[in-house]
């Protein structure tokens, strides 16, 4: 039996209005994300990275084309069905963490539980605790995000995205606000997920060093998504993070 791609985009285009101007965010993007794989997407600001993330995280319906999640066409789905799929199949790590300062790390990780997890409250707490432990945050479960460093917040955000056991984890600029050492740690965490949990990981980043660690590397240029060969990228040991940033941003 052939496993469905976790997400398949077929000729996906997204057009939206910015004031009176019509902007083409994605232009015929086509890609398959295999289960347990890792992929990176690099591109300049305004190249359509955020639009791609919003489509893959099921927060935006494309103007045309097809989006299949676990073989299901999301274009025909109701809003409620889409929400269920979003809760179950896709975990998203946002660039600015989007953690609630009123809640502890544990409560932040448990947030998806309120909207349709089959776990009991106790099981949910255990799962949140084990995810935080996996990400090296076992001692900080009761701490609030405002009392944490950027790297710690990002790990809480990753734990929350993994809470429902999604088949795909999307990370939008996960290292954008972090120093180099912390960025490395976060990248370690993210790219270990396919082997550790079987979760496919898509990382959207400016950082070529982070991007280079993915099995597949893609580039977005004015809404066009294309596969990059390994040779086309700066070497993993060559250009550093800063060099990657200057070449791409």
């Amino acid at each position: 039996m052939t496993a469905f791609p976790v997400v398949r985009l077929e000729q996906v285009s997204v057009r939206y209005q910015v004031g009176s101007e019509s902007v083409l965010g994605l232009d015929g993007a086509t890609i398959d994300i295999a289960p347990g794989s890792s992929m990176s997407v690099v591109g300049r600001s305004g190249s359509g990275k955020s639009t791609l993330v919003s489509v893959m995280s099921l927060l935006r319906r494309p103007t045309s084309g097809k989006v299949l999640v676990d073989g299901h066409d999301v274009m025909a789905m109701s809003d409620a069905h889409l929400a269920r799929l979003r809760a179950r199949s896709v975990g998203t790590v946002f660039q600015s963490y989007h953690l609630d300062d009123a809640f502890s790390a544990m409560d932040n990780v448990m947030t998806p539980w309120y909207f349709g997890s089959p776990l009991t409250r106790r099981q949910a707490r255990d799962r949140a605790a084990s995810l935080l432990e996996l990400l090296g945050m076992a001692d900080l479960t009761r701490r609030r995000p405002s009392e944490m460093s950027g790297g710690q917040r990002q790990r809480v955000a990753i734990a929350r995205a993994l809470f429902s056991g999604p088949r795909l984890l999307l990370a939008d600029e996960p290292t954008g606000n972090l120093d180099e050492a912390t960025a490395g740690v976060i990248a370690d965490v993210l790219f270990s997920l396919p082997s550790q949990m079987g979760t496919a990981v898509v990382v959207v980043t400016h950082d070529h060093q982070v991007s280079a660690r993915a099995e597949r590397r893609t580039r977005l240029v004015r809404g066009n998504l294309s596969e990059e060969s390994a040779e086309a990228l700066p070497s993993e040991h060559g250009l550093g993070r800063a060099a990657g940033a200057t070449s791409d941003v």
């Binding site: 955020s50 919003s54 995280s57 927060l59 935006r60 809003d79 409620a80 929400a83 269920r84 979003r86 809760a87 179950r88 998203t92 946002f94 600015s96 989007h98 609630d100 009123a102 809640f103 409560d107 947030t111 998806p112 539980w113 309120y114 909207f115 349709g116 997890s117 089959p118 929350r160 429902s164």
Partner: protein, 381 residues
């Protein structure tokens, strides 16, 4: 779907409430004051209406009361006549008949009554037309014997009519049946029968009752040689429509005040919730991004308001319990009524008030929350 989803959302709403405890306490107090005023005003309305109705009924007769006076020329015994009247009004009456024998007006001839002019006496009858037991305590007793046509009726045999009897039978005195025959002999005019019919309906049914009675008394009329149109006179024994309308108006005003206070509280809650919605826009957007459905977000908003309402109404009930004695004393002293703010009969009103406020304060914010675009909300932050 997963069970107890709504309970989870209620827990989340409770957690959200903890973000602003002061706001929660203030809103719950606002609701408590509104609910307490609503309960108090409703109770005042009830007490006033009851007292007014009682007073109006006593002084002006119960609404829908008719006086039936069969012709004195009818050749029939009292019980037969009453039976025929009962048959004639059976479709209209909602209470059993009251009847009395009206004696012809008599002129007292001994002091001090010779000064008062004619005296109208009635003898109360029971359902079958027999003399009813004389209830000496029902009215004020006279202080001296009444001398009627040379015969003395002792003061123990006569009492003043109650206000209701005055209205119904148009008399000032009620006579002990033991003296009825003797009193009847004092005049050549025969005693008459008065029957009181109560329909319980405010609208005028005089003509309909009259028609029906004419039909049932036709045989008596034929036998007595009386034209059937003259066999009976039906007149209203109630009055005071204007006072009754004013009484209803007072209740309406009370009701408007009660609901008005709730409306103001509800609007206050609505404004507060709209501010909360603005503050929590990001949170609702995040929950949508994490898999919440539109109705989940609506539930969160409604739970937020429901928590305020439950605590507010609970507080109102506690306050009402705590001040029960004082309110009762106040009602007695100020209005001579027994005020009881908390009564089982208030429950439907309280539930209606709760749901009205939930809809008023929660409907629009909940709808707006479901319209939020999570993507836009998260990008804006």
């Amino acid at each position: 779907m997963y069970r107890w989803r709504w309970l989870r959302l209620l827990c989340l709403a409770a957690q959200n409430t903890a973000r602003s405890k002061l706001k929660f306490v203030l809103l719950a107090t606002l609701v408590a004051v509104g609910a307490l005023v609503f309960l108090s005003v409703n109770e005042l309305a009830r007490a006033s209406e009851d007292n007014l109705s009682e007073a109006i009924d006593a002084d002006l007769g119960t609404a829908g009361t008719y006086r039936v006076t069969p012709s004195s020329g009818l050749e029939a015994d009292r019980s037969g006549l009453l039976e025929a009247i009962q048959a004639g009004i059976s479709t209209y009456a909602n209470e059993s008949l009251q009847a009395a024998l009206t004696l012809p007006p008599l002129q007292p001839d001994c002091p001090p009554y010779e000064q008062i002019g004619e005296v109208h006496l009635v003898v109360i009858l029971d359902q079958s037309g027999e003399f009813a037991t004389f209830d000496r305590g029902a009215g004020v007793r006279t202080e001296a014997d009444l001398c009627l046509a040379g015969m003395v009726i002792p003061q123990s045999a006569i009492r003043t009519a109650s206000p209701r009897e005055k209205v119904l039978f148009g008399t000032s005195f009620v006579l002990d049946p033991a003296y009825a025959r003797a009193a009847g002999l004092t005049s050549a005019v025969p005693a008459g029968l008065v029957v009181i019919v109560k329909t319980g309906k405010v609208e005028d049914q005089t003509d309909a009752i009259r028609e029906s009675l004419i039909a049932s008394l036709t045989d008596f009329a034929l036998r007595s040689g009386i034209p059937k149109e003259g066999v009976v006179v039906v007149s209203r024994a109630d009055s005071g429509e204007a006072v009754r309308a004013a009484s209803s108006g007072i209740k309406l005003v009370y009701s408007l005040i009660g609901w008005g206070v709730l409306l103001v509280s509800g609007l206050g809650l609505l404004v507060a919730e709209l501010i909360v919605l603005r503050d929590r826009t990001w949170f609702f957007g995040l929950t949508r991004a994490l898999g919440a459905r539109r109705q989940d977000v609506a539930w969160l908003v409604l739970c937020d308001i429901a928590l305020v309402l439950v605590v507010g109404f609970g507080l109102a009930v506690l306050l009402a319990l705590a001040t029960e004695g004082a309110v009762s004393q106040f009602g007695e002293a100020a209005f001579q009524v027994d005020l009881q703010i908390l009564q089982p009969s208030m429950l439907p009103g309280l539930l209606a008030a709760f749901l009205s406020m939930l809809c008023l304060a929660g409907g629009y914010p909940a709808w707006r929350a479901t319209r939020l675009d999570p993507l836009e909300v998260l990008e804006r932050r």
